[in-house]
């Protein structure tokens, strides 16, 4: 439900994977074939000579460094910043507000905590439910609308149908209360707590 750019993740991982494969295969081939190893050394030496020449031509007056070195440094810094942005873009889009409306008298906002507390309260008495929580996220594909994610951790052996029906009922109530139908994601999960909790013997 979060705003992670999944396509971007996969594209970048795929591109890097392709680069690593090419480099790896080239190295393996250089180890296996003597002529390819000689080609590698020849091409590398020629490229290095050219680079040296370029570096010498673009020397910054009065110093031993070249403009190319400065450019390379800048490129590395930019790449680093982009990498940090990529890392920071994961799991984004969490929001504290469930809904808001602008009116003549002012703005009305509904905090996520309202829905979260209501849902927790409503499911607290359910013997099949260990814990419940609600978060709101800016849902991709809705033009920035907020969606509600309800996670319910259930006891071992709990019926997903019954828990699902109970949550459905809550969502219906929330729809009426808010006067709008938010995108809702319901997760029925089992975690470490479910593993160690007592089985509910209702049946």
């Amino acid at each position: 439900m979060n705003g992670t750019h999944r396509g971007l993740n996969r594209t970048l991982l795929g591109a890097l994977g392709a680069v690593l494969m090419v480099v790896g295969l080239a190295a393996a081939w250089a180890g296996a074939s003597g002529s390819f190893a000689r080609d590698w050394a020849m091409a590398g030496t020629r490229a290095w000579a050219q680079t040296q020449q370029q570096l010498a031509e673009a020397r910054i007056p009065g110093t031993g460094t070249s403009w190319w070195t400065v450019a390379a440094f800048a490129a590395i810094i930019v790449a680093g910043v982009l990498l940090v942005c990529w890392m920071a873009s994961q799991d984004t889009g969490r929001s504290n507000q469930l809904a808001s409306r602008e009116g003549a008298g002012g703005n009305t906002t509904v905090d996520t905590a309202v829905a979260a507390e209501a849902i927790k309260e409503a499911l607290a008495g359910n013997p099949q439910v260990l814990s419940a929580k609600a978060q709101s996220w800016k849902t991709p594909g809705t033009g920035g609308a907020t969606g509600l994610k309800i996670s319910v951790q259930v006891r071992k052996g709990a019926s997903p149908a019954e828990v699902g029906a109970a949550v459905d009922h809550l969502v219906e109530g929330l729809d009426i209360l808010l006067g709008t139908r938010l995108p809702v994601l319901v997760r029925i999960t089992s975690g470490t707590r479910s593993k160690f909790a007592r089985t509910e013997r209702v049946a």
């Binding site: 890097l16 690593l20 250089a30 190893a37 990498l83 594909g141 994601l185 029925i188």
Partner: protein
């Protein structure tokens, strides 16, 4: 509050799809961190060499020359092994990019909300249905849920008959009640203690 109906089937489908597949977030963060480390090291080395200081590991010019001389200075076998390892790493990243990365979760058909259930929840619920039908203790029934199959293994104590058909019917009835988007084929098997060599009393 927007006056749009945000519970349209397309959006529900999208939420379901995103929730049942890996976002590759953890792998992306790991890869980005490694690349960032390399970028920082390169930047530091460039600065050190430009200002005429001693390098941390090796200056950029030497790095370039060493990689040119790599085939000539390395044992061919080691070069092949290292190249293969790097290529395999690349293949793994490519696979992560291309494969769907489906998680052990199932989608419940629901017109209003996207509902996603852990496979483990389904397994323990089906196991409960099976042991209620066969009147067994929780430890005597195990259940595993795959993408298309749900397998129940019943291990009754010696001398106790279990009606496999009734257990299957009970589990099928239970699973049908979940309204899963992708139906699960139910398999029930009996694992009698005396069936396998030396398992008496196990």
């Amino acid at each position: 509050m927007r006056n749009q109906d945000s519970s349209n089937p397309k959006l529900v489908n999208r939420l379901n799809r995103r929730e049942t597949r890996s976002s590759r977030a953890a792998l992306s963060i790991t890869v980005a961190a490694v690349l960032l480390l390399a970028a920082v090291w390169l930047a530091v080395e460039l600065t050190l060499s430009a200002t005429g200081n001693a390098a941390l590991l090796l200056p950029p010019a030497e790095l370039a020359q060493r990689s040119i001389a790599l085939p000539a200075t390395t044992i061919p076998g080691a070069l092949i092994a290292a190249g293969a390892a790097v290529a395999l790493l690349g293949l793994a990243l490519l696979a992560a990019a291309v494969l769907p990365g489906t998680k052990a979760r199932h989608i419940v058909a629901n017109p209003r909300s996207a509902v996603v259930v852990d496979a483990q929840v389904l397994a323990s619920a089906a196991a409960r249905a099976a042991r209620t039908e066969a009147r067994l203790a929780p430890e005597q029934v195990t259940c595993s849920v795959g993408r298309r199959r749900l397998d129940v293994v019943v291990r009754p104590v010696t001398g106790r008959a279990v009606d496999t058909a009734a257990v299957r019917a009970a589990v099928e009835h239970e699973v049908a009640g979940y309204g899963l988007r992708r139906a699960l084929a139910v398999g029930v098997s009996l694992n009698k203690p005396g069936d396998k060599h030396g398992a008496v009393g196990a």
